[in-house]
Symmetry: C2
Subunit: 170 residues, 2 copies
DNA sequence: CATTGACATGTCAGTTCTGGAACGTCTAAC
DNA sequence: GTTAGACGTTCCAGAACTGACATGTCAATG
């Protein structure tokens, strides 16, 4: 149900079309809330029907530019302040750990080593991303930087943990 | 699609009924892969229809005990070795961070402070859980301990990050 | 013997999500 | 001119998931 709020959030910065939002998603929110194209267009229609956003302009190729309404902004604020994240996140990654013993130890260690590598690679990708961005003082920069820092710390922690875990097996 | 594998994994330890699995889930896997009762019974039926598990005994009150078949074990091993976790996990928590600037700074800091507290509480809960369990040398203890350690490290990291982030705002 | 609570399964309507297919338009480059 | 590629939207079948409701049995307690 939070794709809704992700879209409201993006539109709170500036008006955009579904296509624009799709692009913005790819380069930012996709990491924390993956969504497909069909899901986004569907959700935009619903948001529009619910009056949280409105078609503020139509461009070439049937382009529809959506703008956040006051009601939409209220809903976004409400979501941020009155509701708390609750859904336990699913982790395919950790689920596997529970059943590692059905594999021979060297395979299990192999999985953990792969995890460590993957975390390291993601860490480096994020570092490069961090360096490639011209961080300003604007709100989006501050928030984006904070979210990115979370990713950095997560991947660092994950790598260390995977290495620690590999040692415990066998 | 991984509830399937969670169930296969649990059944690889020993045969169990849907009800048994439900209980086992609550106390272990629920943290990494939440699932409802209806989902589990539905999935058990499908697994049985697909020949990955089989009804090995029927008990009182319509109890059906399921046992992993060879085919099921093969599928479990295949999942563990041949496939890689890919789905980016959704994080309601991080999603909010992106839009924190629509709130006044003190509210934003309040959210991060709440996050830090929550992480601290979860950390302590896990510590208590860790101490309450009699960890043996069996495979499940080893794996469970490893998964728990992940939770500990994650919450520790999250708390530090939230405190760091609160400092950056305003 | 009545009741409570754990045991035990099944079904269903409604929603969300996935992974595509389909369709059409504009622009720049060749 | 035409064609490739970016732009742009809509629809859909099927799977997964949620949050109930429905139904009944067995064992122990009072």
């Amino acid at each position: 149900m939070s794709l809704r709020h992700a879209l409201l959030g993006l539109l709170s910065e500036r008006p955009a079309s579904g296509y624009d939002l799709l692009k913005r998603f790819e380069t930012s929110l996709a990491n924390v809330w993956p969504a497909t194209q069909s899901q986004m267009y569907t959700e935009l229609s619903k948001l529009s029907a619910d009056g949280l956003i409105t078609v503020s302009a139509e461009g070439p190729r049937g382009r529809k530019e959506y703008t956040l309404t006051d009601e939409g902004l209220t809903e976004l604020r409400h979501w941020l302040t009155e509701t708390r994240p609750q859904r336990n996140t699913r982790s395919d990654l950790l689920l596997r750990v529970f059943f590692l013993d059905v594999l021979p130890p060297e395979h299990a260690r192999g999985y953990l080593a792969w995890l460590a590598d993957m975390s390291q690679r993601e860490y480096e990708d994020l570092r490069r991303l961090e360096e490639s961005i011209d961080w300003g003082d604007d709100p989006l920069s501050v928030n984006g930087r904070i979210a990115l820092e979370y990713g950095l710390r997560l991947n660092a922690m994950r790598r260390e943990w995977a290495e620690w875990a590999a040692d415990r097996i066998g």
